[in-house]
Amino acid sequence: MNLLDFLIALPAIGFILALLVPRKQEKTAPFVALVVSLFTFVLSLGIAAGYKTGEKGLQFVSNGVWIQNPEIHWHVGIDGISIWLILLSTFLTPIAILLSWSAVKDRAREFYAFLLLLEFGLIGVFAAWDLFLFYVFWEVVLVPMYFLIGIWGHERRIYAAVKFFLYTMAGSVLMLAAIIFLYNRAGTFDYAVILDSLSSGKIVFSHLEETLLFLAFFFAFAIKVPLFPLHTWLPDAHVEAPTAGSVMLASVMLKMGTYGLMRFCVPLFPTASRENAPWIVTLAIIGIIYGALVTMVQPNMKKLVAYSSVSHLGFVVLGIFSFTQMGFDGAVYQMLNHGISTGALFLLVGFMYERRHSLAISDYGGVATVAPWLSSMFLVTTLASIGLPTLNNFIGEFLILQGAAQAKFTWTVFAALGVILSACYMLWMYQRVFFGETNEELKHHMPDLNPREWACVIPLVLMMVWMGVYTQTFLPNISESTAKILDQSRANVPLRVALPAAGTDGGRHAR
């Protein structure tokens, strides 16, 4: 067992520990969860410190046989992309636990147990290097989130929870079919081996096969991202979820989709990825603009932040399917940025909901005079979200737009509209909520941040600044790994075009 195995196991152990807390001492459940998640975070920092930039290939690899037949490996490892997404998960889980401290009273031990199970699944998704193992973690993530939304959510929680589960399930069963098909061709689930046999020409797909396999993977990921027009589950799930659920959903779970696109779709099916890029980019740009326009008219703060995610994630997809180094880097960077800043927005909106018990923008106004610190933290987050230079989102959006411009300038023109629109809706919302007349209700019910809330907000705000001014911490690792993916997406193209055998067994599909 190496450190990474231990990192994955730790939240699972915490899950069991939290469930074992006796019902009568349920108040200790959050402590147990917090301690476990902090340990996990420290451990993940240790892994990040031990990660060596410039070393080729995966690090902290652990590879053993889990199931003999068909051979399924416990193959986990990290590269420059997954290390940051794992850190994002371990960083946000303690915050999610801390922010629920006073909000969740009912069935508390299950709540915290599910948060830890979620963390287990998320770390696993980003570390898995065996397609089957990846699928297992991918599905494991569904269960705790389903319960988090369904039990501790708001009024329409049941509808939202079921919709969330079914959408994701429908996408992922197709991916399972594609994974099995790949296995039957390659004789292994090991992702590294499959990539090797692809690049050495040991497995060759016909054009039709590659397209269908690509689409099977793509839809599973596109639903998760969510890409327009598959996004409709997202506003429901976000609005109905408890704050901790929204934070984890927006910050980390959506990244499972973009991570999957980058990690699996592009290297496995480079030709199909490039061929399908035009319409995917079109959908991404429609998502950016449509998402922004819909965001603008939302009367509900949480829904507003949720729709803004559709818009922001459109940028990430645009970056990936621009097939440029900058686009890739920007996409990964933007995944992290969105995790931090949208997580912070949901968190702050959650704090306001706890005070005023309303999410409607019209119920607020003039908050800045009664809760100045809350307002200023919200302002920093808002500015980060709209991409103000020196804050994190700016870097990501800039890289993506630059990358897209290298690919096709018109893409940039349209996508840049999204940046402008994001400034409109965020600032307008900020103005309506925080400025103007303070109504009577708010004067008595809007205390400023308490120490526990500060503890949640400060790390996020620090990260926004850090990621906005000192990209050197993050980008070298990311670029190294994205360069490799970009390489894979190129290397296979001429090889496949050159191979005439590609068409010969295409008929096998028809049966």
Partner: protein, 488 residues
């Protein structure tokens, strides 16, 4: 077999599980008049003891594989796997019957005797090497099940269930018998290996059509027994009407045994004409999955929903059969084991919340179960997640193995449709979890009795098995894979 035939010791050893269970069933009937009133639980205890002994006997018989009774029976790994499986289901069924029989004030002696006889029949079925033996086993199993389905004779739904099951069941058996007769007419044998040998010889013209018709007739009979579409109509009414523990048993053990002979007959005797029967299975699989899942979506009665879900699961199993390969067979075996555990487990919860005369078997009766009895709710969730096919449960690996076998046999479209079907199924299983976890306790759950030891044991065993199959599936799968080469 001559009239003066004396069984050898090997014969007896290989037939030991059936012997043990038959003797015990007879003893139970003799004891019935003496202990029925005084010690109603005795019969359950004795049944469990005999089933455990029979399971050990089946394992030790499996250590000396070979034919028995002039090749009428054959004990191979395949037979051993299924014998242990149906005996295991029997144990779970007995465990979950204690509370039910006590609540309904039903006779326990005959009940357990019938259950044991049914298991004997299934053991004979799965080890039959001769169509006549298979048929006899099927009849022993079915007749006992017919009686069990109507066990509470004053209950009208029990009567309806038993009558429907009996009438349609006999009809199906007729089809099977007709198929056997035609096969005998063509090949002059009822032995499975003999049929395969006769069919692989270059035959006279016209033979092929006759054999195909025979195979089709046998398909009808067997599809009825496994409740595969379009012969599934009886299942919802029968499972809904029968006593809940009997439904749990009927939906698993006879089905597992019927699938075993389905696999054995079609893969041992009819591999030559597989191109003719594969499309039949293909269509039946797709219909079963689709009808089962879509009909289950709108059900409000738990037992009826589980009945439709069992039709859908029969569809997944037929996919494995349509793959007509060794890994398909292994996948079906694994799936049957996983399915038995999750289904009996789910029915155990239904028995528990059903209450006297099964008045509370609506889905809404589960409302708020998680608040009143979190343990029971958690276990039902495990079974439901397994039925959906979420990783780390047995149901997931079952589905995975089946669709892997299907894709390997190039049944790509069937697999895609099947997998989409399993996404549809998620909806109605989730609905139960919604009701249990996301709603406030209703009348039923407020007045719920605490869990009794028998039901608790059945649930815990099933849940543990579901996890075992989900986390370490290799153990059972390697067993199944070893068993796929039939002794011919």
């Amino acid at each position: 077999m001559p009239a003066s035939y004396m069984p050898t010791s090997d014969d007896l050893l290989r037939f030991a599980p059936e012997l043990i269970l038959t003797i015990m069933a007879t003893v139970l009937m003799v004891l019935d008049p003496f202990f029925a009133k005084r010690m109603p639980k005795l019969f359950g205890h004795l049944s469990i003891v005999s089933l455990v002994v029979a399971a050990f006997a089946a394992v030790s018989a499996g250590a000396v594989p070979g034919p028995a009774y002039s090749d009428l029976l054959v004990v191979d790994d395949f037979a051993t796997f299924f014998r242990v499986l149906v005996i295991g289901i029997g144990i779970l069924a007995v465990l979950s019957s204690y509370e039910y029989l006590d609540r309904e004030k039903a006779e326990t002696g005959e009940y357990h005797a019938l259950l044991l006889f049914s298991i004997v029949g299934q053991c004979v079925m799965v080890s039959g090497n001769d169509l006549m033996m298979v048929f006899i086993g099927l009849e022993i199993s079915s007749i006992a099940s017919y009686v069990l389905a109507g066990y509470l004779r004053d209950d009208t739904r029990n009567n309806e269930s038993a009558l429907k099951y009996f009438l349609l069941g006999s009809f199906a058996t007729g089809f099977l018998l007709y198929g056997i007769a035609l096969i005998y007419g063509v090949t002059a044998t009822t032995k499975l290996d003999g049929i395969a040998a006769a069919l692989s010889r270059p035959g006279a013209p016209g033979t092929f059509a006759m054999v195909t018709v025979a195979a089709a007739l046998m398909f009808v009979g067997l599809a009825f027994k496994v409740s595969g579409a379009p012969f599934q109509i009886w299942a919802p009414d029968v499972y809904q009407g029968a006593p809940a523990p009997v439904s749990a048993f009927m939906a698993t053990a006879p089905k597992a045994a019927a699938f075993a002979i389905f696999l054995r007959i079609f893969l041992t005797a009819f591999p030559q004409i597989s191109n003719a029967w594969q499309p039949l299975i293909w269509i039946s699989a797709l219909l079963s999955m689709t009808i089962g899942n879509f009909a289950a979506l709108t059900q409000t009665n738990l037992k009826r929903m589980l009945a439709y879900s069992s039709i859908a699961h029969a569809g997944y199993l037929l996919v494995a059969l349509a793959a007509k390969s060794e890994i398909g067979t292994a996948a079906a075996m694994f799936y049957l084991a996983a399915y038995a555990l999750m289904n009996v487990g789910a029915f155990a919860v239904v028995i528990h919340i059903g209450g006297k005369s099964e008045r509370h078997v609506q889905i809404d009766d589960l409302a708020g179960l998680a608040r009143r009895q979190p343990g029971t709710a958690a276990m039902l969730s495990i079974f439901l997640l397994s039925l959906i096919g979420v990783p780390l449960t047995g149901g997931f690996f079952g589905k995975f193995y089946i669709f892997r076998a299907a894709i390997e046999s190039n049944l790509i479209w069937l697999s895609v449709l099947g997998l989409l079907n399993s996404a549809v199924a998620a909806y109605y299983y989730l609905r139960l979890m919604v009701v249990m976890y996301f709603q406030e306790p209703g009348e039923t759950t407020k007045n719920l009795e605490p869990l009794t030891p028998g039901l608790r044991a059945a649930m815990v065993l099933s849940a543990a098995g579901t996890f075992l199959l989900g986390i370490l599936p290799g153990t059972v799968l390697s067993l199944a894979q070893r068993s796929t080469t039939f002794v011919k």
